[in-house]
């Protein structure tokens, strides 16, 4: 006699289907969120004041380190104090509604709560000082900030060039370098490693090496310490 469990399972079929749909839904939801929030066009957060890097660094060609003064001396690049903003905006564009917002913070002696866009996990030790002093341009990692009205993590296409800052502060494509970042357009370990594999430090400056055999800071504890 054949005993089948199929009749017994039949009643569970709908329940199983519902569960399956729900599980698929979880994966879809996760992926949808991933697509939406990791898209820089969408994910660039609203800042308390709609500060435009395009106007400052692009149109008016203010060097990055004029405001981010700590980048060459400290692990963190530093955010300018409200006092620094007011240093110029006591005179410049004082009628603009955005600048009035800045003045308001200044008059209330309150800091502007900027939202952090470029964020590394706490287990990564990155230092701006070393990279800036090695002549690597800010844009190499931060993207063309001078074209952004609203700051966002830059999604890069494959094989972008490594940008080098010349001693005059002018930004050039590294002459020795054609290959820059990486296929990985997220701020993940591959971005760091690719560049570290392809560059050597000569006279304190980062230089592209072709043999690819140089292990410049590839130890785990270069960053994870």
């Amino acid at each position: 006699m054949n005993v089948s469990i199929q009749p017994a399972l039949k009643s569970l079929r709908t329940a199983a289907l519902i569960a399956l749909v729900a599980v698929v839904g979880v994966f879809m939801g996760y992926f949808i969120d991933f697509l939406i929030t990791d898209n820089p066009e969408v994910s660039a957060p609203e800042q308390p004041i709609a500060f435009s890097h395009k106007i400052h660094a692009g149109d008016n060609e203010i060097p990055c380190q004029y405001c981010h003064t700590e980048a060459r001396r400290s692990p963190s690049a530093g955010v300018p104090s409200v006092n620094k903003c007011m240093g110029c905006h006591n005179e410049v564009a004082t009628d603009s509604p955005l600048i009035r917002q800045v003045s308001e913070y200044w008059e209330n002696k309150e800091p502007i709560p900027w939202v952090k866009v470029h964020d590394l996990p706490d287990f990564v030790h990155f230092t701006h000082k070393r990279h800036v002093q090695a002549g690597i341009a800010c844009q190499t990692c931060h993207g063309p900030v001078e074209t952004m009205d609203k700051i966002a993590v830059h999604s890069r296409d494959n094989d972008g060039p490594t940008l080098m800052a010349s001693t005059t502060g002018e930004i050039t494509n590294s002459e020795t370098s054609e290959v820059g970042a990486t296929q990985n357009d997220h701020w993940e370990m591959g971005l760091c490693l690719n560049c570290h594999k392809q560059h050597d430090v000569v006279d304190g400056k980062a230089v592209r090496v072709d043999d690819g055999g140089f292990d410049n800071g590839l130890d785990c504890w270069t960053c994870h310490k």
């Binding site: 709908t14 749909v21 839904g25 979880v26 879809m28 939801g29 969120d33 929030t37 409200v82």
Partner: protein
Amino acid sequence: MPNIDRRDFIKLVGAGGVGVGAGVVLRESIKHPREHLIPHVLAPEDYSSGVATWYNSVCSMCSAGCGISVRTREGRAKKIEGNPSHAVNQGGLCAVGQAGLQVLYNPDRVTGPLLQAAGRGSNDFTQITWDDGLTRVASRLDVLRAAGRGNRVAVLTRGTSGHLAELLEAFGQGLGTDRLLHYDYDHPHALHVANQRFFGEQQLPYYDLANTRHLLSFGADYLAGWLSPVHHSLGFAQSRHGGDHRGHFVQIEPRMSPSGAAADEWIPARPGTEGILALGLAHHIVASGHYEGDDVDAWQEVLSAYTLARVAQETDVSESTLRQLAESFANTRPSLAIGGDGAANNSNGVDTLVAINALNYLAGNVGEMGGVIFNPDPGGATSHSRQANYQTLAQLAESARSGEIDVLILNDANPVFTMPVASGFKAALEQIPFIVSLSSFIDETSALADVVLPSHTYLESWGDAFPEQGVGFSIGAVSQPVVAPLYDTKATGDIVLDLARRVGKPMPWNSTEECIKDGWNKIYQESDSNTKTESFESFWTALLKAGVWGKKNHRMTETSRPNANTIASIGVDAPTFSGDAEVYPFVLQPYLSTMHDGRAANLPWIQELPDAMTSVVYGSWVEMNPKTAKDLGLTEGDLVDVESPEGAVRAPILVYPAIRPDVIAMPIGQGHTNYGRYASNRGTNPLEILSPVVDENSGNVASNATRVKIVATGKHVEIVKTSGKSRDLGRDIVQTTGGDDHTAQTNSIPITVIPT
């Protein structure tokens, strides 16, 4: 394909929707949270975000006055190290100094002015404003001062040196009180008196451990607590490994301290007989013709009673050991004898230290490299002249009892913890109508305060220090704030200045900083014109940067000769102890632990730091010789009552081989009842049960002169320690044998069995 009806379809759509929603929520919840970049409104000039800034300052955890460098980031103190340029500690720093951060960040700090209206000791404090608090104090002070009864105000502060001490002095004068007392439990009163008697100098000399080749330490635990342990450790290292010779170190004490463990020889003389031993050595040095001064006859006469045979009998040290010690001490050049801690805290403490001075003099160590060197005037006030000994505090208590004191101002001194209960000190303080505390923490003494006006910690305030035990030349350092005040507290000096203003006796400074600067301006004006900088401001900036100031002014060549009267007065009586030896068979030795006099007990790092000798953490213990423990049937962890004629404390036994069988030792520092969450209700305080035996010469309590008995309670606890068992649990890993067995069965017992 199953049939899907309308109901199932809705279920599926619902499930899908919930699933997608759950997926989004899941990803959002595991995503790195959005952070903010909060800039400064006005950026301070002296730091870059992300870059450490170091400030040089002075450690105030004890009176040694080590220089410190504090690493700060974003205005927060992160780490304390020793200042390499400071001659006292030369970059070194002890555990308590390192733990100074936990004073700053301690969760039990008083964060603002408090009023204890509910009654003293209730710990029921209400927040008040600074103005209210200051007014409450000033109104009382003002009335007393105006009526010419300023002497009814008493000030009791932790030992304070430098210009802050002068500020307090001026405050006392303004009020018209001479009841201004500094109090540190471990202040070497006996040493000051002994040096006054023998050398005619109150000030501590410099003991040059670094250059000595033979150190004889009578009870002074110079590596762990005595005077300036970090400096002594450097000296010890230099003498042992620094040159072409290896210094020989001898420690004479009934219970082995860390210094005893580091010594080449440890000699457990009977407690209180260290001075007799020193005179025995002196006798031998003179008798054998090592001393050739023209007053040799006077010495011979005064030392004639201290024959090696008699001394050997009284000290329980063999005659041959004594002879050998005396010979090597006199023949090794330079040599040095020091005395303190256990040897000084007896009824004959001052006589003992005078005897040790005499030993140094007879061996020719005074004014010599590697011997006793006199310090020049330190350049700033030291606290000794105002330091209260036991008798002074007893007088204060007596005045309080008889209603002669109306206001007591406390500043970080905690005598209620360190005074024996038998002194009745706490009850006397309670008689004072109004007590105000300027301490940063509520401790056993501050708990009696009606008003608490909390001070900054030393990392937040200005001050300076001129280490009294010195380094052989003038040295001082400025203590500068390394962080902005964390709480609504004020600098001690600023509180005092404010009070002085309110009682109509303003001082010439507006702030402590001004007072300190003013003091240093005088030092600058007096400084050598060759090395003088352009202006005081540049001197001040350089001073703060370097964290230390010094002056080339040795007094090496001076030798002080004792006169005939001094020589004739030398002699050490047998020590007296409280309690009948029949009833109380053991001598109790309370010794300074890592917690110092108990002030560091509220620092978790110090609580969890294993004791140097026993490796015990978080608690108290009673050290007992294995033989004594065997006789009493006690093992490690057995809870016992240590009973003196004055009372009892309870702690577990720790079998400790390096202690005389007739001595019991207990660490000082634990047993707080009201000193924050980390210190309170942990361990016991052996100082509680001390008998008030006073060394008449120094006026201080003889803390090693109390006899005790041990009463087993039948209870057992596990002692928490890091070193595990001291035995091999019967596994015979290392076989050993006692010396007696070895001589009994000559040449047949191997010390160690090596398996073949």
